[in-house]
Amino acid sequence: MKAYMSVCKLRFINGLQYRSAALAGMATQLFFGFVFIMIFVAFYSRSTVPAPMPLPSLVAYVWLQQAFLSFIMLWFRDNEIFQLITGGNIAYELCRPCGIYQFWFAKLLAQRLSSAVLRCLPILLVAFLLPEPYKMGLPPSPAALALFAITLLLGLLVIVAISMLIYISVFWTMSPAGSMLMFSVIGEFFAGMVIPVPLMPGWLQNVAYALPFRWTADFPFRVYSGQIPQAEALWGILVQLLWLAALIGVGRWSLHKALRHVVIQGG
């Protein structure tokens, strides 16, 4: 366990070095946040039907999405791992005295964490200071905030477990780009990145609820604005844990299988 912790820590510090990239990313995300909110405001402004989600919670939803983008994006990828597999250097990884699954998990976790730490605070700060209707509101109660923090972290673990599956699939496909793109487009849609899950039509919401993706983003963000009441949030945490266990189980099993047939790509 200590080894994985230190891998995690090293990667985290490494990730913190890319500050100018983070600055550019922040500018982009602020801009996108603005555009999305303007679009939603325009839709809401003359709407005659009651909206399923009040505008302030929607605004908080959008800003949280932008601030914690690296917790959600599936195409946030580590080319190193792809190259390890397709280039044959996986042989060295196999020689290490630690489990590959845990090792990669720690690595991916740290990358996402460092990227989010660099970006989220400035974006949130700006979002809190903006004038209405762009201003991001505070959560309704301290309990909601605490639950948000827990669900967000669990969501992070879930997304890392999902992305592990993508990496493991490279053992069979050998070409990451295509399958990765399909996977991430579909996954991000069902995580509520294109339109928030409550705004989807009913049948599509049911699909989204049946998939693991919404537990990574949609769920914590709605807990934040109190859209999901606390009792329900506690049940949600249980579901998150179940998904996490299932995804890790499948991941470890398929990695185990992949490694038994692993072909070292020479070069």
Binding site: G25, T28, M38, I39, R46, S175, V185, E188, F189, M200
Partner: protein, 260 residues
């Protein structure tokens, strides 16, 4: 021009060497604007209208900008990958050849997989056109074609500007994504739904509005007076490329090789 097509055929043959990956990427490229469009569709299904714009009108707006974006990504990708050329010092080789640098960079890369994205936007365009009650005439058809062309030129101009910055910074700059991806994202809705400053910025500084919003008013008969002005807006958008070319020339003159 012949040289450019020569570049294209070489690149096409090289990309077709990886067939499976090529088709998967093309499919993926088809799907990513597809879910975007699904988002627009579901929003309209729930809210019915958007500040007086109907779904098919917005779909037309969406199709034009997506089409322009995918075409420009196809053809002008070379500028997007330009930082690699500068950082590696490979730009020196282009300079000693007796052809224009802009043309050579343009031909250095070509993403055929973007046809997936193009196909999707063509489908949306046809769908929107068949459902819109527009009295078509020659002038409107020409305007529509001009809108796409003007959009391509604007995106190309932005790519060029971003590439020019590489002469000074050596690295690629992600900030340019605000104007390419961000511009695409916002121009897929009619510009007048945004705040005033956004509309002004994207009409007069980076003229996306000239490429789809203003001429769209003409096509949909929403323009009040000055129809010719709205019709000619795409040309104004195309003018954006001129200062970009100029800046590019200045950049090339300032170029210092990294020597590696």
């Amino acid at each position: 021009m012949r040289l450019y097509f020569k570049y294209l055929s070489i690149l096409f043959r090289s990309q077709m060497q990886y067939r499976a990956s090529f088709w998967l990427l093309t499919c993926g490229q088809f799907f990513s604007p597809f879910v975007m469009f699904a988002g627009v569709y579901f929003m309209f299904e729930r809210f019915g209208q958007l500040r007086g714009w109907s779904f098919y009108e917005v779909a037309l707006c969406f199709a034009v900008i997506q089409m322009a974006f995918s075409l420009s990504e196809c053809f002008a990708r070379g500028f997007d990958a330009f930082s690699g050329l500068v950082a590696g010092g490979d730009f020196d080789r282009l300079l000693v050849r007796p052809r224009s640098t802009a043309l050579q960079v343009l031909g250095s890369k070509f993403e055929f997989t973007r046809f997936g994205r193009l196909l999707q936007s063509i489908i949306v365009l046809v769908w929107a056109l068949t459902n819109l009650p527009v009295a078509w005439n020659a002038a409107k058809a020409v305007t529509l074609v001009m809108m796409v062309a003007s959009g391509v030129l604007i995106f190309t101009g932005i790519y060029m500007l971003a590439a020019t910055l590489c002469f000074w910074t050596i690295q690629g700059l992600e900030v340019a994504n605000i104007f390419t991806d961000g511009g695409r994202e916002m121009a897929q809705y009619p510009l007048n739904i945004y705040q005033k400053w956004v509309t002004v910025f994207f009409t007069f500084i980076i003229p996306f509005g000239c490429a789809n919003y203003l001429p769209l008013l003409y096509i949909l008969d929403k323009a009040d007076g000055h129809e010719v002005m709205y019709m000619l807006a795409p040309f104004a958008g195309a003018l954006f490329l001129l200062p970009c070319l100029l800046v590019w020339q200045i950049g090339v003159r300032h170029y210092r090789s990294t020597g590696s």
